[in-house]
Amino acid sequence: MTKRPALLTLALWLIPLAFLAFFFYQPLVAIFRLVFSERFSQGWELFAWSQVSKPLNFTFLQAFLSTILTLVVGLPAAWLFAKFDFPGRKILRTISLLPFILPTVVVAAAFNTLIGPQGWINQALMALFNLSVPPLKLLNSLPAILLAHVFYNTSIIVRIVSSSWSRLNPRLEHAARLLGATPWQAFTKVTLPLLLPSLLSASLLVFLFDFTSFGVVLMLGGPQFSTIEVEIYNQAMNRFNLPVAGLLSVIQLGITLLVTLLQNRVNTPRYGKAALNPEKSALSRPARRWQKVFVVFMVISLILLFAVPVLSLITRSFVTLEADRGQRGEVMVGFTLRYYRELFQNRSGSIFYVPPIQAIRNSLLYSGVTILIAGLLGILTAYAMARRARFNKFLEPLFMLPLGASAVTLGLGFLLIFNRPPWANSTFPLLIPIAHSLIALPFVVRTMLPAIRSIPESLREASRSLGANPLQVLLKVDLPILLRSLLVSLVFVFTISLGEFGASSFLSNPHAPTIPVAIYRYISQPGALNYGQALAMSSLLLLVCGLGSLLIEKIRLPGEELF
């Protein structure tokens, strides 16, 4: 089977490529052909280059700053989770994932309760220093955008980097220490270069997420900030100026391609198993004083960054502040289950009412199918990429492009090509898990690739010589080694699908909304109960996501402890 490696590699590529061609490139080409046709030529009349250059500059600036900040928070956090054992580790790890799925509206609300003009922090500062105006003005500013991006994307760094960090041979760093390196030198000269492949991978994902950021910029940054994606939305949806929107999304795609190629060019070295820990890596309790200080500091910081907004949201869904709002006197605080009870009631008798259980079921259904599609395609793609073939270099960026594609443009493309059942408008619109898979695929590939490359070929040869057929080799040799990375990527797939709003909202059947869609329905109406129900629904989303990802991480294979 090693005789025609190129042929086998091509065979592995076949299904993922076909999928991508049909569901990604076809609609994109269709929409570009339409918007750049004669029909829309009048759209260029008011066009000025500043419409491109201004959002482009800002997009780069905020994406660059956001990625750096995310690394600053994410790297120590990745170290914390890769090396140390401390009480509440699992819960904190799961909580750090939760921001990833929260709809932007809800994050805005959570941030508002925290850092808003009337938020706790400002209230506390005002009371403490006897101020009459809130000292912190974070909302509607660049720092708010950056903070939200860090909030959203740190878990990408944490998950991907800590998974490869925990597999790194700790003796390499020890060897450096013994050769006279301070802890910092050992980190910069040994650990960091060895982590570089996964670090670059994770940073690229974060950068692309920040680069195409839409909701965060719109809602938390406020209207004075505009990224390319926001401008595409504005041009396409509000002005119906499709050629300009098309041009912007071509530029965005081009830059994504460039960034991806650039990242490929940064000769990501492969050390295979040379850098891997031959033993099962053990977490250690922080022993020295500086370790204890570090762990305590990080845990507190992560709780402040992730747990507090998330918890304040959940707490708020159980607390009533309403009692005498009309009178504006003392705020009455009380425990209430009203918001949750109300979720189960269809007070207006609307046909679009959805019981929470059903919304949860819908969401789980889509994410289940997404896990199947993205998992399968991702494994095929990662295996294809792990092989040495000349054309791999050109095929790899193709799979990163969906992350950089404008969601608005792709959505319009979908509407052109797939506007009938079974793709859209049906009871189970297949297009939803497919769209989710397009976003999730790069995650699966990026997480699996280093793990696949680390499997020594000798192991496979050994089991083949013992009479295992290729499938058995895959199941008994590869799978146990890959399981941890596979689970990390499946957790990503699960959360991406669970929290995705855009595609779900316009592709789903309005009678069968997902949880985020249901949240939007509540929060887009005035009224304390609607607001409360949106928070209650968000808490349910967090619960489902937390339980789901814990469950996925619980999967164990017999024999896995060998690796």
């Binding site: 269709a30 008011l46 609300a109 508002n112 309760t113 808003g116 003009p117 009337q118 719109l218 809602m219 406020g222 209207p223 004075q224 949806m237 509000n238 002005r239 119906f240 502040l321 009692a323 709002r325 009309g326 504006r328 209430t336 207006s348 008798g349 609307s350 046909i351 679009f352 259904l365 289940g368 199918v369 896990i371 199947l372 319009l412 506007n419 009938r420 408008n425 009871t427 189970f428 909202s505 316009f506 309005p510 939007y520 329905r521 929060i523 887009s524 109406q525 005035p526 009224g527 304390a528 109960l529 609607n530 607001y531 409360g532 469950l551 619980k554 999967i555 164990r556 294979l557 017999p558």
Partner: protein
């Protein structure tokens, strides 16, 4: 041992759940005609009212939601441009700010619904009856009653007054390029101050510390002090019906709504919502029946509590709770749809240049 089967079992059960859900619970003998209605996210109707219509006409209505009004309209235009038959039969939710775009793109077929005779002429903006008025509502400035009481500030009675120093930093509005109430409010200012004067007012408001958000949700729940978000600004651009929603969807029974609207002359923009039959439909007969249904008394009376708007049918009875809390603006502003269509982009550009740069 069973743990490794977990994923498999999970997905299997999910797929099973999917299968069971596809069987529709109500199968009427005689196979009902399927009718697809494209509408915006805020559309709603009660189960009861719709079922009665479906049963009486042997029609099964399938709703497709295409986002907000603009997005839904664009979706339909794209479909018509791609040359295929429309994926829906009826479009509900076109408003007077987007009316001309839909008519220009020739999306709709005319239908002289018998019920039209009973609807006041002021709502019938399309004389060819391609877009038929169904409901209307007003975009107004909401204010936090308690805040004004506590600060002993007089309630503003005109848009011009809002630019006075005593109202500095108190109003939050939405960006007209990304929000439909934001657009409506901008149009109200154009109607009020004229094409020559409206930008001066906005300049004055900018100097007076007006706050701008991208969307209604942020403006209302993050910035507005009268909402559950308990923000910092006591005035927000929202709907005249929002105080009613605050009253009806309050947690504890209130004697009156905590918020109210500024409804003096020229302060509000009237949004009229239209429905129409999509050009090229294969279900013309069923589509006509559905339009008739939209204009019928049961649906018209259902509209206030479902979508917090007023029915266009004068004889429709409006529920007590709604009647009590929704104030009708004295002289809502309006502009000719053709003027809006031709100037919208230029106005929005001018607004952005002034307010966001």
């Amino acid at each position: 041992m069973s743990k490794n089967n977990l994923l498999f079992t999970l997905t299997l059960s999910l797929l099973l759940a999917a299968c069971t859900s596809t069987t529709s619970p109500t199968q009427v003998p005689g196979k009902p005609t399927p009718l697809t209605v494209m509408t915006h996210d805020s559309f709603s109707v009660s189960q009861e009212v719709l079922s009665a219509f479906e049963a009486a006409n042997n029609i099964k209505v399938n709703f497709v939601k295409g986002g907000d009004t603009g997005a839904t309209l664009n979706r339909l235009i794209l479909e018509s441009l791609s040359g295929s038959t429309p994926s829906a039969d009826v479009f509900f939710g076109l408003d007077n700010t987007f009316l001309s775009r839909a008519l220009e793109q020739d999306l709709l077929e005319p239908y002289d619904a018998p019920q039209l005779a009973q609807i006041p002429a002021e709502f019938k903006l399309d004389l060819e009856n391609r877009a038929l008025p169904v409901d209307y509502g007003d975009v107004c400035v909401n204010y936090d009653k308690a805040w004004f009481e506590q600060n002993a500030l007089p309630i503003p009675t005109s848009l011009a007054e809002l630019a006075e120093p005593q109202y500095a930093n108190l109003l939050v509005v939405e960006n007209p390029s990304t929000s439909s109430p934001g657009l409506a409010f901008m149009l109200a200012t154009i109607a009020e101050f004229g094409e020559d004067g409206w930008l001066d007012w906005w300049q004055a408001m900018k100097n007076n510390g007006i706050l701008i958000t991208s969307d209604w949700e942020t403006a209302y729940y993050t910035n507005f002090s009268g909402s559950s978000g308990r923000g910092a600004q006591p005035m927000v651009v929202s709907y005249a019906s929002s105080p009613a929603a605050e009253f009806i969807y309050a947690e504890t029974e209130l004697s009156e709504s905590p918020t109210a609207s500024l409804i003096d002359a020229g302060m509000c923009w009237r949004q009229i919502e239209f429905a129409g039959i999509l050009k090229g439909t294969k279900n013309r007969a069923a589509a006509e029946k559905f339009i008739d249904f939209l204009l019928s008394q049961p649906f018209q009376e259902d509209v206030p509590m479902q979508m917090f708007v007023f029915p266009v049918l004068p004889k429709a009875v409006i529920p007590e709770a709604f009647q009590q809390t929704v104030e009708s603006p004295n002289q809502p502003a309006s502009l000719a749809p053709e003027l809006i269509a031709s100037q919208r982009d230029a106005w929005i550009n001018a607004w952005i240049n002034l307010m966001l740069n």
